[in-house]
């Protein structure tokens, strides 16, 4: 790596008042032709380009981003990372990602601030208890760390939770994955962008795809706001806008795009040192390194591409947060925003070839794609380079909606994703 970040580079740049840091990634104009083009410069898209260059030796590739990199859902999520999914296929996929997270800062020479502070999922009724215990067992059979905590142990692990039996949805216990945690979301996009750019990948921002040129059953290139670019491999990682791109190629996907909201509070001293999620009352909370509470709300029930979401969804989430954490009752919320998530009928992603040759889709991550960023990029790169899925993403093909072999994580995962 030419501009390796280290304590020495920090000292050297301190001597010149930090005014001589090199740009972390380039800003090129598109070439006429690429071996492969990734549509979408979020974490997943940039990771795909990074692994295509690094592991599959494809150097003449580009990432097209209509806005700025990491400005979509990568910069809008609540940064939770975990792998405690019920089904074998999901466990394989998400734990592959978690293992890559564990070494990602070293791999990228970029601090992604991955913090394994644990993720706790709460149970509020008898069915929750049964489901979460079952999931704990399933996780352990798949080699994923998981423990069941009773109410007292939940209280001990996170003392600010209200475990009184008198609340509307009392805490009956919870599961804990200690290897789970959070990371700095922007850093993931920037780290992959820097790594990919270093290997010669063109990262082209402010370049929107307007059309896909097809010749019979294969792709020939992309119409963009910066002109036509020739390529015979297109990997689409456009999250909420996947259907929009698919429609350009005359393809329909099993997706619905909906606004998902999050909000952060004013910064306060450290009060919660883990991530707590509650599926039943739909509230999840962690604390950022700046001290803000990071709170995730639910999706709106209708298709919409407006990046905002409804007020009543926020209200419901905050009601649940206040019942579980009475200590937060006088906190002020600073910012609220929405991102458009593409939801599959079985709440599992699609990392797949299509019936159009050279067109690949990585979509359907719905409300929980951030945690999978490194794994998703790695497996999608494998799928594009070999024109065949890796065994870890074979189950996540588009054809499962025809064969009926769904990976139904809706009720099974800790749902809030």
């Amino acid at each position: 790596m030419k501009n390796k970040y280290s304590v020495f580079s920090l000292i050297k740049n301190a001597l010149s008042q930090h005014e001589n840091w090199k740009q972390a990634w380039g800003n090129p104009e598109p070439k006429k032709e690429y071996e492969a083009i990734i549509v979408g410069g979020g974490g997943h898209g940039l990771a795909t380009a990074y692994y295509l260059a690094k592991k599959h030796n494809l150097k003449n590739i580009a990432v097209l981003e209509k806005g700025w990199i990491g400005g979509g859902n990568t910069g809008r999520n609540t940064t939770i990372i975990r792998s405690n999914y019920l089904w074998d296929a999901s466990a394989g996929l998400y734990d592959h990602a978690l293992k890559l997270w564990e070494n990602l800062s070293q791999e990228l020479n970029y601090n992604v601030m991955f913090s394994q502070r644990g993720v706790m999922n709460l149970a509020h009724n008898l069915q929750d208890v049964r489901d979460l215990k079952r999931r704990t067992h399933a996780n352990r059979l798949n080699g994923i760390d998981a423990v069941w905590l009773n109410t007292e142990e939940v209280k001990k692990f996170c003392p600010i939770i209200n475990t009184s039996p008198d609340i509307r949805y009392p805490v009956l216990g919870g599961t804990l994955q200690r290897r789970a945690g959070t990371a700095r979301h922007d850093a993931v996009a920037w780290g992959y962008a820097r790594g990919a750019s270093e290997m010669g990948v063109d990262i082209i921002q402010n370049c929107e795809v307007k059309g896909i040129k097809r010749n019979g059953d294969r792709v020939e290139g992309l119409e963009t706001t910066k002109g036509f670019i020739k390529t015979n491999k297109i990997g689409v990682v456009a999250a909420g806008h996947s259907s929009v791109i698919a429609n350009m190629a005359g393809l329909k996907l099993p997706l619905e795009s909906k606004p998902l909201q999050a909000l952060v509070s004013e910064p306060v001293k450290p009060i919660i040192d883990t991530v707590v999620m509650s599926n039943a009352v739909h509230a999840y909370v962690s604390q950022s390194d700046k001290g803000e509470l990071v709170i995730g709300a639910g999706t709106d029930s209708y298709v919409s591409y407006t990046q905002r979401g409804s007020h009543n969804i926020v209200e419901e989430t905050l009601k649940a947060i206040l019942e579980l954490y009475p200590i937060f009752s006088r906190m002020k919320m600073l910012r609220q925003w929405g991102g458009i998530v593409d939801i599959c009928p079985d709440a599992s992603p699609i990392i797949s070839k299509t019936n159009i040759k050279g067109l690949y889709f990585n979509c359907g991550w719905g409300t929980g794609g951030f945690k999978a960023t490194p794994g998703s990029g790695d497996l999608f790169a494998h799928t594009i380079a070999n024109d065949e899925p890796h065994k870890l993403n074979a189950a996540f093909n588009l054809n499962r909606f025809v064969s009926g072999d769904l990976v139904d994580e809706h009720g099974a995962a800790a749902v809030a994703h």
């Binding site: 259907s243 429609n247 329909k252 996907l253 619905e256 919409s304 591409y305 407006t306 025809v402």
Partner: protein, 93 residues
């Protein structure tokens, strides 16, 4: 969040309604003769349009009746409301 003009009750808050997704997906007349591809198309594949979408809504916390809405999903603006069984307005494509 927006207001929906229920054809039976008048203008009400969107939180009183539940979304039924894309409208005018016709249940196959001969389900036994459908191929797996046709089933997948009917059950799962959606246009998921960014722009003008025809969709179904149910006034679930009101009259509990279903009806159709034409809405621009890029700005949530409702362009037209019409009852079940009525022909969709032709001036939106």
């Amino acid at each position: 969040m927006f207001l929906i003009n229920c054809p039976f009750c008048g203008e009400r808050d969107q939180s009183e309604f539940s979304s039924g997704g894309e409208a005018h997906i016709v249940r196959p007349k001969q389900p036994t003769e459908l191929s797996d591809d046709e089933w997948a198309e009917y059950l799962f594949m959606r246009k998921n349009i960014k722009g003008i979408q025809f969709e179904r809504w149910n006034h679930v916390h009101g009259c509990r009746k279903w009806f159709n809405v034409v809405r621009d999903t890029s700005n949530d603006k409702i362009l037209s409301v019409y009852k079940m069984g009525e022909k969709p307005p032709v001036n939106y494509k």
